[in-house]
């Protein structure tokens, strides 16, 4: 825990990617600042929603926190430990505490593994329990996420997107993490299924006291999940605050432009929103 009680504290996080040019002799011609000085914290048991358009750096931020990408600079303090200074073994141990749910349940589950093996894998990798106790734990996890535990010997392709995402969530839960990074977890799903998964994530948070970093381009989905919001653009956070504040009383023009661009399912509201949107057109430049 940090001194102010946040489970995760990110300070001035930076991630640069080199851009190479040249055909035979490659040279780094310049760097792209995917994440450019991002700071935030998440109190235990809460959800921070990270929203932004594609290329804003929101997923890269998530990967840096999980140490799936090595940050160029900055500090990430998780459960009181500075992650950027840990050695490989220590990072491995910390990973038990922080997990990820990916966007696409079609490509993030190994098609050659059974559902049971997919959920058991993190337990095996971290040497948790015996083969027999692991089997019991897998059934328990699948049950928790609303997936029929009798189907552990089946393969991912036999299931719909929503069912597969439940498997992805069960796998993320396997090691009892305290933080889960949800990277666009419902973007590939139909609306009615999306609601099932969002409800599941909410239930799990309530039951297990989970902390979420919830990354999505969908502003309505982020709002339905988050206590706090950070709006990202070009690698930086342009606005942050309690969800209701940011959505109802946005301070930044960019946030307003983003919010008014969303088509809401209300034809009458849409007419006013279109007028607002056209006033803010200058904020958004398209390449």
């Amino acid at each position: 825990m940090t001194e102010n009680g946040a489970l995760l504290q990110v300070r001035d996080l930076r991630k640069e990617f080199p851009v190479k040019s040249g055909f035979v002799i490659e040279r780094v011609s310049h760097t792209v600042k995917a994440v450019d000085g991002v700071s935030f914290e998440i109190p235990e048991g809460k959800t921070l929603g990270l929203v932004g358009e594609s290329g804003s750096g929101k997923s890269t931020t998530g990967y840096c926190i999980l140490q799936l990408l090595k940050p160029t600079a900055g500090s990430i303090v998780f459960q009181g430990k500075e992650l950027t200074k840990l050695g490989r073994g220590e990072i491995r141990r910390m990973r038990r505490e922080m997990q990820i749910v990916f966007q696409d349940p079609y490509s993030s589950l190994d098609p050659r593994m059974t559902v049971g093996d997919i959920v058991a894998e993190p337990l095996e990798v971290h040497g948790v329990g015996s083969k027999r106790t692991r089997r019991g734990r897998v059934r328990e996890l699948l049950d928790v996420v609303g997936f029929n535990p009798d189907y552990t010997n089946r393969y991912p392709h036999e299931f719909s997107g929503g069912q597969r995402q439940r498997v992805g969530v069960a796998r993320a839960l396997a090691l009892n993490p305290s933080l889960i990074v949800c990277d666009e977890p419902v973007s590939a799903l139909d609306v009615s299924i999306q609601a099932q998964i969002l409800n599941l994530l909410k239930d799990l948070q309530r039951d297990f006291g989970l902390t979420y970093l919830f990354i999505s381009h969908d502003l309505a989905v982020v709002r339905s999940m988050s206590d706090h919001i950070a709006v990202m653009k070009d690698g930086q956070i342009v606005e942050t605050g309690p969800a209701d504040e940011v959505y109802e009383r946005p301070k930044e023009e960019y946030t307003r432009a983003l919010l008014t661009a969303v088509p809401v399912p209300d034809p009458r509201r849409m007419r006013d929103r279109r007028v607002e949107r056209r006033k803010l057109r200058h904020v958004i430049a398209e390449a």
């Binding site: 358009e53 594609s54 719909s160 929503g162 139909d190 609306v191 009615s192 299924i193 999306q194 609601a195 099932q196 969002l198 409800n199 909410k202 381009h217 502003l219 309505a220 989905v221 709002r223 339905s224 999940m225 988050s226 206590d227 969800a243 209701d244 959505y247 109802e248 432009a257 983003l258 919010l259 008014t260 661009a261 969303v262 088509p263 809401v264 399912p265 209300d266 034809p267 009458r268 509201r269 849409m270 279109r274 949107r277 056209r278 057109r281 958004i284 398209e286 390449a287």
Partner: protein, 333 residues
């Protein structure tokens, strides 16, 4: 007379596993200058409906087994492929979801645009180029004359979709079909593209069909909405009427499942979700296709045995259900 009138369209896929009834008795019409929105979740048949109108379904395995598509007085289902080619692109055009894959990456934008003009009008090279610049300007691509010689990878997703739209309107079509035109785009770009489509529809007095899974896009663009479920239209109404008074249990559930963008404390509470999943279209339920997931279906009134008709419940508002919202008795508390 309607610009397009679709009657009892059935498009089935003849596969090894059986006959997939992807589109199973769909009827609607589109007036000139108006937008019909077709909304539904994946697999409901909305895209196959659009492809059937354009004669673009993969044959085999797909075949239009029944129904007619009357466009400007001609039944398109009776035309030869050759005759259909003259209609397609010229009087009726289509844009697709993914502007990344619908342009040929190895050809300059100019070549891809002039191809259409040449095919339908036999434009000379100079005229075609001039017209292509006009079209790119019309879809608001800056520095149109320069961009014409670029390859598609030089364009962003939104700009590529603009190019696709320019190609689609090249021949002044009477009807534009847009299949998830903004699904692959960022929300701010989506807003720009929807605005552009709306302006073009007005200026060219085109009829338009927008196919989407997004109720927000429907609210923004459509004059009339058809909600599809399992290959059939389950509800159809003018847009405001549909959002104000949804009748079909599926439409109600779909609207209830949407997270809200506006309003204080919208985070509280759970989203309503629909239990189960849509039926297998090889062997759909005999009765109402939504019955297995419907909270109002029951044994005694034939929901499971008989498919309900799409009936007019109010002027212009049709619903395919025995238990539309306005006919339900209040449940005693």
């Amino acid at each position: 007379m309607a610009l397009l009138k679709v009657e009892n369209l059935r498009t089935h896929f003849f596969t090894r596993e059986g006959v997939v009834r992807a589109v199973d008795g769909v009827s609607f019409s589109v007036e000139a200058g108006k937008t019909l929105g077709i909304v539904g979740e994946s697999g409901c048949g909305k895209s196959v409906t659009a492809l059937s109108l354009m004669g673009l379904i993969p044959k085999p395995p797909a075949r239009i087994v029944e129904g007619s598509v009357t466009f400007q007085g001609r039944d398109l289902t009776t035309l030869s492929d050759r005759e259909l080619e003259d209609v397609r692109g010229r009087e009726m055009a289509m844009i697709f979801q993914d502007p990344m894959t619908s342009l040929n990456p190895t050809l300059r934008i100019r070549t891809q645009m002039t191809e259409v003009l040449d095919r339908h009008f036999g434009y000379s090279k100079d005229d075609a180029r001039k017209r292509a610049v006009e079209l790119l300007e019309e879809v608001r691509i800056p520095r149109a004359a320069e961009r014409l010689d670029d390859y598609p990878h030089r364009f962003s997703g939104g700009m590529r979709q603009r190019v696709m739209i320019a190609i689609a309107i090249a021949c002044n079509p009477k009807l534009l079909i847009a299949d998830e035109p903004t699904t692959a785009l960022d929300v701010t770009v989506q807003a720009e593209i929807l605005d552009l489509l709306d302006d073009l529809r007005r200026e060219h007095e085109m009829g338009m069909i927008i196919i989407t899974h997004d109720m927000g896009v429907i609210a923004e663009t459509a004059d009339e909405v058809a909600v599809m479920y399992a290959g059939q239209i389950v509800e159809q109404a003018p847009t405001e009427e549909l959002f104000d008074n949804p009748e079909h249990p599926y439409t109600e559930a779909l609207l209830g499942a949407l997270p809200q963008l506006e309003g204080e404390n919208v985070r509280m509470g759970r989203l309503s979700s629909i239990p189960g999943r849509p039926p297998d279209l090889i062997a759909p339920p005999e009765g109402c296709r939504f019955a297995p997931r419907c909270p109002h279906a029951n044994q005694s009134d034939g929901c499971v045995e008989h498919l309900p008709e799409l009936r007019e419940i109010r002027p212009g508002h049709r619903v395919r259900s025995r238990h539309p919202a306005s006919e339900r008795e209040a449940v005693p508390a």
